[in-house]
């Protein structure tokens, strides 16, 4: 995952943010126990959301207390107390996802010293994630789809969807909960993440002649996002909205709307979705001629106040 599940500032209440932060810190501690302290850099909002999902499925309260963060020792943080399997699970998944990210960067042709470091880290993380065959399988699936010239966007986002689906199903199985609904939560979240990631990276990938899912599926050769046609924006809006709708449907089907952590997760996903719309419009799609081509819900984003990512949860 790529850290896209960020919360807009002020969107979560103080208490909700504290619960999310407790899971974020719990994940960071668990990553620190996985090997060397540098692995804590793999802590992400997405990993924290996975921990929150597992925690909500488990239905048992997670004890938390104020502790000093080793990276921000002047601040006390509300942290989940270690020892819960949810954090070890989320840490393993985060390492596997970090490994995929390194492998993706290597395939994109990172050069020099960074290539050397990425290669070593990728090999190290591959050993760490060896018990999760899904990760290696996802890499192979993704490369196979990307090599095809006539693929649909659905097919390109499928490997990420299947990977997150299988991670979510593993969490559900461990908690003796319905696996198919959990799988779909992960599957649609994976598709949602892949789509936003392709949108955010579009201009950068086009300028560096790197692979981009949107450019490949729609055979686009324009360098700017604001040159995309109206039909494509409507289609992408449909894909993203359907993903969010299905995630919420399956979260509710799992009964997570009856748990505070499940409700925070649902709020987080809806908030992150609206945030990305607003942020993308304000960063790349400001011109009047471009705004007219966007779907109505995107056009109205321009009038809303653009907020920044909340660093409070993640630091």
């Amino acid at each position: 995952m790529y850290g896209l599940l960020r919360v807009p500032k002020g969107y979560l209440t103080k208490h909700e943010l504290a619960v999310f932060q407790a899971h974020y810190c719990g994940l960071c501690h668990a990553l620190g126990r996985c090997g060397f302290a540098g692995l804590r850099l793999a802590t992400s909002y997405d990993g924290a959301a996975l921990a929150l999902f597992y925690s909500a499925l488990q239905q048992e309260p997670v004890a938390s207390q104020d502790e000093r963060c080793p990276y921000f020792p002047w601040r006390k943080k509300y942290q989940a107390i270690g020892g819960y399997p949810i954090f070890d699970f989320a840490a393993q998944a985060s390492l596997g996802l970090a490994r995929l990210k390194f492998a993706d960067d290597l395939a994109d042709g990172v050069k020099g010293f960074r290539r050397l470091v990425f290669r070593r880290l990728s090999d190290y993380l591959e050993l760490k994630a060896a018990q999760w065959p899904e990760f290696a399988e996802t890499g192979r699936r993704q490369r196979a789809v990307e090599e095809r010239k006539d693929c649909w966007f659905d097919e390109l986002s499928e490997p990420t969807g299947l990977l997150l689906g299988s991670i979510a199903a593993r969490a559900a199985a461990a908690c003796h909960r319905e696996e198919s609904n959990a799988f779909q939560v992960g599957q649609y979240l994976g598709k949602w993440i892949y789509t936003w990631d392709a949108l955010w990276d579009f201009e950068d990938d086009q300028s560096r002649h790197r692979f981009n899912g949107l450019a490949a599926a729609y055979q686009l050769d324009c360098p700017k996002l604001n040159q995309l046609p109206q039909r494509l924006w409507r289609e992408l809006d449909f894909v993203l909205e359907r993903c969010v709708s299905e995630i919420l449907r399956n979260l509710d089907a799992l009964g997570l709307n009856r748990d505070e952590r499940g409700r925070i997760l649902a709020k987080l996903i809806v908030g992150a979705h609206n945030f990305h719309k607003r942020a993308l419009v304000s960063e790349f799609l400001k011109e009047e001629s471009c705004i007219e081509r966007l779907p109505m819900s995107w056009q109205s984003c321009r009038t809303q106040q653009s907020s920044t990512f909340s660093g409070e949860a993640g630091q």
């Binding site: 966007f153 659905d154 649609y188 599926a217 993903c243 709708s245 299905e246 449907r249 509710d252």
Partner: protein, 95 residues
């Protein structure tokens, strides 16, 4: 899906057939493909009934437990008004 495609081939101006295909693909999670069929259905049905039907059937209206919808609020107001009227007062004069 192949059967449906052949039906569409025989009757390419039928919006319900495109809608049916869109719903199948949507259920399988192929949203991009579903949208292409939905766009065709929409083009064949300019008054928007097809799209409205799709939205009604497919979009999930998530509600947080413990929340209060507009309907809940209005029902509450009606009950309060009735209670006031029983006691000789009136909360909402026009009803």
């Amino acid at each position: 899906m192949a059967k449906l495609d052949s039906k569409i081939g025989e009757n390419p101006l039928s919006a319900p057939l495109y809608l049916q295909a869109a719903e199948i693909l949507d259920t399988l999670g192929f949203f991009q493909k579903a949208y292409t069929y939905l766009a065709k259905a929409e083009a064949l049905d300019p008054n928007g009934a097809v799209l409205a039907e799709f939205s009604r059937r497919r979009y999930y209206h998530h509600e947080h437990e413990g929340g209060c919808s507009l309907c809940d609020f209005l029902c509450g107001m009606c009950v309060l008004d009735s209670c006031c009227e029983c006691m000789g007062g009136d909360l909402i004069e026009c009803c």
